[in-house]
């Protein structure tokens, strides 16, 4: 599989899902349990991605400049600072720590 294959397959899948919502008659996902699982799935995947992106390094767990950067990001989101500013500050915190250590 090349990078282009991955991109084409993943794009086809996500686009098909969008079309399904508009073209297929409502049914399965409107029931309470599937709707709840679909909702929580988003939360679980994003939380898992945060964990891996913050702590993972290939197949090992590493605590480095990313951890304080993410803690600062969480504090800023709690203060309702806009997304772009938070992402920029998180990068700056990690870059700053790496530059001085």
């Amino acid at each position: 599989m090349t990078t282009w294959h991955i991109i084409l397959i993943a794009s086809a899948a996500t686009l098909a899902l969008k079309l399904a919502g508009h073209l297929v008659p409502a049914g399965f996902l409107e029931r309470e349990r599937p709707a709840r699982i679909a909702d929580l799935l988003t939360v679980a995947l994003l939380a898992a991605l945060i964990a891996v992106q913050t702590l993972g390094e290939g197949s090992s767990i590493v605590i480095d400049a990313r951890v304080p950067a993410v803690i600062v990001a969480a504090a800023l989101y709690a203060l309702r600072v806009p997304f772009v500013v938070v992402v920029f500050v998180a990068a700056a915190v990690a870059a700053g720590i790496r530059a001085f250590t």
Binding site: S11, D39, A44, A48
Partner: protein, 246 residues
């Protein structure tokens, strides 16, 4: 986003509110495209691959996830990357089902939109367009809010993705610039508004712990997929529901 207004001409006022909400949310969201473009290039995609994702996939969570998994596991983690992006796209099915009756009007009239318009509506069905539409107080403003937000985000997101990709390309060593931390902060920003309920918070903590514990054991990319099981278990049995109604 307050769709309600008590101005003397409610129709016009509501329409203006829908347009204003759409523009505000659309422009704010479009700016994230910079971070996506830079992160995608840092993950090893070229500029065209990066722009293709914003044009065709056009759903931020899945796009960030795809490049995030590829950044950690490379092409070998392609299967996991596709699965993660697709699973994050499932919520768009739910959004489409909610938007369809609003966009097509009441079924009693027997009207259906032409196919090209339904495909266009599906294409711009994302968190932001759906949220703005559902915040309006009648169907007409909801339609305006949906289309304004969807189109503004689409145009802006694709322009800023391209700019971000150029910036990422010029950066060189992206770790020195803290782009890996920026990716984590971007995921956190997508998650944050979803944490209002206790159940969602519990799932987030559980999934993060599972993904961390699985990282040394499984191939890169798989820990994230395994963590999705937490959502299925909690959602199936409806656990942690206390105080969750707000």
């Amino acid at each position: 986003m307050n769709g309600l207004s008590d101005a003397p001409e409610p129709g016009v006022a509501l329409r203006d509110t829908a347009v204003r909400d759409g523009l505000a949310v659309g422009l704010a969201t479009a700016v994230y495209g910079i971070s996506f473009g830079a992160l995608a290039v840092a993950a090893g995609l070229d500029i065209w691959q990066t722009c293709f994702l914003s044009l065709v996939m056009f759903t931020g969570g899945s796009q960030f996830a795809l490049v995030g998994v590829l950044a950690s596991g490379g092409v070998a983690a392609g299967g996991s990357a596709i699965a993660t992006a697709a699973m994050l796209g499932i919520r768009n099915v739910v959004y489409g089902m909610r938007m369809k009756p609003i966009l097509e009007g009441p079924p009693a009239t027997g009207q259906t939109s032409p196919m090209w318009r339904r495909v266009a509506a599906a294409w711009v069905t994302i968190d932001e367009s759906t949220a703005v539409a559902l915040a309006q107080s009648n169907d007409r403003s909801a339609r305006i809010g949906f289309w304004v937000t969807g189109i503004v985000v689409f145009v802006g997101w694709n322009i800023t993705t391209f700019v971000g990709a150029l910036i990422g390309d010029a950066m060189g060593d992206t770790r020195a610039w803290g782009l890996d931390a920026a990716a984590a902060a971007a995921f956190l920003g997508l998650l944050w508004p979803r944490l209002k309920r206790v159940q969602a918070g519990a799932v987030a903590v559980g999934a993060a712990v599972v993904a961390t514990l699985m990282t040394p054991v499984l191939m890169p990319g798989l820990p994230v997929l395994v963590a999705a099981v937490v959502a299925v278990v909690v959602g199936w049995f409806d656990l942690f529901r206390r105080r969750s109604e707000s």
